[in-house]
Symmetry: C2
Subunit: 493 residues, 2 copies
């Protein structure tokens, strides 16, 4: 058996060199691939054997299949024409961080099981806190995704309810308990509802507060809903504000929401998964205004901070409550230093913990605070530029403000928009759906969609480090071209 | 700005080559490092700057710090003398899989966001199902850890309760609801209790069923406890059986438990995170006997199947119930192919999903079914050998059966064990605690501990691909040597 048991060291060196070479070419020329994969359902699966091999296969054969079968089924989040969802970047230092982390293969559940994993996590989180302009005294933990972080934050909020004894007694079969209510805007991420379901709060009790013209939570409506719930005998316990909603990147008025939370003694959680990073630009620091009063805040370096997926930071100034919600230390996990150090397994659901801090630390060092700000600034500039093109064009319209790097818009050709209203809207929805399909089929750009005030909406999100003004201009060209073609076809007239 | 934005392609190639070279040397000679890190609390953190850099730094400086500051704070799970917790292996193909996955940086939330991620996940899971001898018709999903998988499985069990309407209404403020009860053995993993807390079941309502002499769930006690709960008006809904408990790797009688679950209409979840992999050896296939009747089963390739952390497979023959518990599809996540394909975001808590299937597929291909079985067999042989040495030695004793690759034992020097019983036991606990600290301080071996029937217990776990008979013999030598030294010191007499 080789020292590696599976491949010899020489084989690993050779395959490692091949992989690095492939990645270098790939990252150099991502435009060699169509951004949205063109495979049909089941195409990748049917190209692979139905049964596992009996005997081991050489890595070169596996890497050949990776290139020939797997890569064609990849939608290229690295492509500079990737404008869908939140466009992201897994930068080179982040990739190297993941490589080293996979090689070390440690489980950072306890300080003792790799002190560097715990302490580098503390350092990277504190660096990020400083970059975001958050005050001292806020600790944090790295999780996989904001969905899990939101679940943990609301679990901490539930833990903070006086006398609830939810850890010991649960929620069911307790006639003395009122309904528990969580509040978020109707533009909040679906993970808030999902957390409500998992935690036994129930979807109905996750109150969706209306938004203003700019898709920001209406704080008066929030206060009224809370009051109404209290009157009905329910128990409000948590508000989730969003800094950068998923559809439009709208920013809830956190400071005003924090006032309500303070008055009502509610836990304030802020979902800043995407837009929190904007605070790395001094001129955008106020996106986090009010967050110093929050009990917990999520910022995802894997969204807009150049770190490969997954890396989501849950900040909190109440770590003891988070730990109170989750800590369970069986005998087999006790160590002699438990009083002196942080055991991050106590901070959330997962016992097993990858060494995610390494890549984040490597990314922050490679870019530096000024490098980060400069690149984010360029993303915002490109989005504002695209928004101005939309605004200036008579047959396109913006459907939401563009505070950061995401533009919500649609085509509204005069010939379609001027028709009888109900019919016109349905027709415009179908038109834009078809327009999106055509642009995405080009292989040069990939946008996604949402619905705003009942209207089918196109979203162009900028967040890839390789995206230049040329790429944005090309997307704009494609949109206009396909719009014209569709109008010429006449199907929608 | 370079094409990578942060490092040039040439810089990436050079740094990638340096990282691969470092990893190759590291995996070739992990014994150059002490297995358990020797840093003191705060040592790593205090060696790093308190503030993030303003300007970017070159990768060579970062990699220097990685080697000089981070690596000394690593506890080496790759060291062949790592015998703690569950000893694991992140094999070479798994490391390359993580590297490629980090470079692609896709989010496999939807089929459309990378069809290969979804379809390779389906393929790898089905291959694993076949390797484990599980019947057709069982689907699955890859999660980060068994803690999260267990949470999702019990959430599905809760979802399956007729008329509970937990998604919509939650559990609190519903006087009509009874207490919900989950059952597991007193040797089950702490993640079952943690899931009970998160889901609003409550720790008290996670019933810990007593175990037999071999630490296996007592099925009669299970049936009695369920009956008692029904009499009290509570609502039993889920049993978690364990195949390979964390302390002793005992295997609950799943077939008999499945009978109870069938009779009582309960969801049966099987936590086979560690020991499920044993079924890859045809002669150990019966570790999963009865699991064909389970509703859900967890097996962790990152535990005993050579895959880097994190990779935990949740199998289920009721995917529609799992999806029923978790699916929420906001407008911004709708795609045109939704009816035809699998969108794995619907199968659990996390919306964002790393491409974990790639490494698992690369590992299964590199080893092949026979290669996997051969290596697992060697691990079992080494553990049985160590167990026989313990059994033959008059001053050591085994504290649990050794069905697989973990040995639970302690030193019991005649001069200590023969004293007045109560005092003797406390003294033996202290003695073994000190013995463990001394062996772990050697840098050559790292064992962990548990408590069995009140006794402080040493655990030697084998699961690293580089562990040979020599390493196990060396650990045994160290244990005997330190035991003799402690006795000579006379502190415990």
């Amino acid at each position: 058996m080789s020292p590696l048991g599976d491949m010899t060291i020489e084989e690993f060196r050779r395959a490692g060199a091949r992989a690095i070479d492939w990645i270098a070419r790939y990252l150099d020329q991502p435009e060699d691939y169509p951004v949205l994969s063109r495979v049909a359902p089941n195409q990748v699966r049917s190209a692979l054997p139905a049964n596992p091999p009996r005997h081991g296969e050489p890595m070169d054969a596996i890497l050949d299949d990776f290139q020939d079968i797997v890569v064609p089924g990849i939608t290229h989040w690295n492509h500079p024409g990737f404008f869908a969802y939140f466009s992201i970047t897994g930068s080179a230092p982040g990739i190297l961080g993941e490589l080293l982390s996979a090689a070390l293969n440690i489980n950072g559940m306890l300080w003792q099981t790799s002190p560097s994993a715990t302490e580098l996590e503390e350092v990277a989180i504190d660096w990020l806190r400083q970059l975001l302009g958050l005050p001292e005294g806020i600790d944090g933990v790295i999780m996989d995704t904001a969905s899990v972080g939101t679940l943990c934050a609301i679990a901490a909020a539930r833990q903070a309810i006086p006398d609830l004894k939810v850890r010991e007694l649960g929620l069911a079969g307790r006639p003395e308990l009122p309904r528990l209510c969580v509040y978020c805007s109707e533009q909040a991420h679906s993970s808030v509802e999902k957390a409500g379901i998992v935690l036994g709060v129930g979807r109905e009790n996750v109150r969706k507060i209306p938004v203003d013209d700019a898709f920001r939570m209406d704080v008066n409506a929030l206060a009224e809903t809370i009051a109404k719930d209290r009157e009905a005998g329910h128990l409000p316990f948590c508000v989730v504000a969003t800094v950068g909603t998923t559809s439009t990147t709208s920013i809830d008025p956190v400071a005003a929401i924090a006032e309500v939370c303070k008055r009502e003694s509610l836990w304030l959680h802020v979902d800043a998964a995407y837009a929190g990073s904007a605070a790395c630009m001094p001129e955008f620091r106020d996106v986090l205004a009010g967050c110093e009063s929050a009990h917990s805040i999520i910022v995802n370096p894997h969204k807009w901070l150049f770190t490969p997926i997954d890396c989501s930071v849950l900040f909190t100034r109440k770590p003891e409550t988070l730990i109170g919600a989750f800590s369970l230390v069986p005998e087999y996990l006790r160590t002699s230093v438990d009083g002196e150090i942080t055991n991050y397994m106590d901070w959330g659901v997962s016992l097993g913990r990858r060494f995610r801090a390494l890549k984040l630390w490597m990314v922050l060092r490679t870019f530096g605070s000024e490098g980060i700000a400069e690149r984010l600034r360029e993303h915002v500039r490109l989005a504002q530029l695209f928004a101005s093109w939309v605004d200036e064009h008579p047959e396109f319209e913006r459907l939401a403000p563009t505070p950061l790097s995401v533009v919500c818009f649609r085509a509204c050709p005069t010939a379609l928009a001027s028709r009888d209203r109900n019919d016109a809207e349905a027709n415009l929805d179908r038109f834009n759906q078809e327009l999106l399909a055509r642009v995405n089929a080009s292989g040069e750009a990939y946008l996604s969609n949402t619905v705003l005030r009942g209207r089918y909406t196109l979203r162009l999100a900028i967040g890839n480090i390789r995206t230049t003004e040329n790429h944005v201009a090309r997307a704009w060209e494609l949109l206009q071209r396909e719009c014209a073609t569709l109008m010429t076809n006449g199907d929608f007239l």
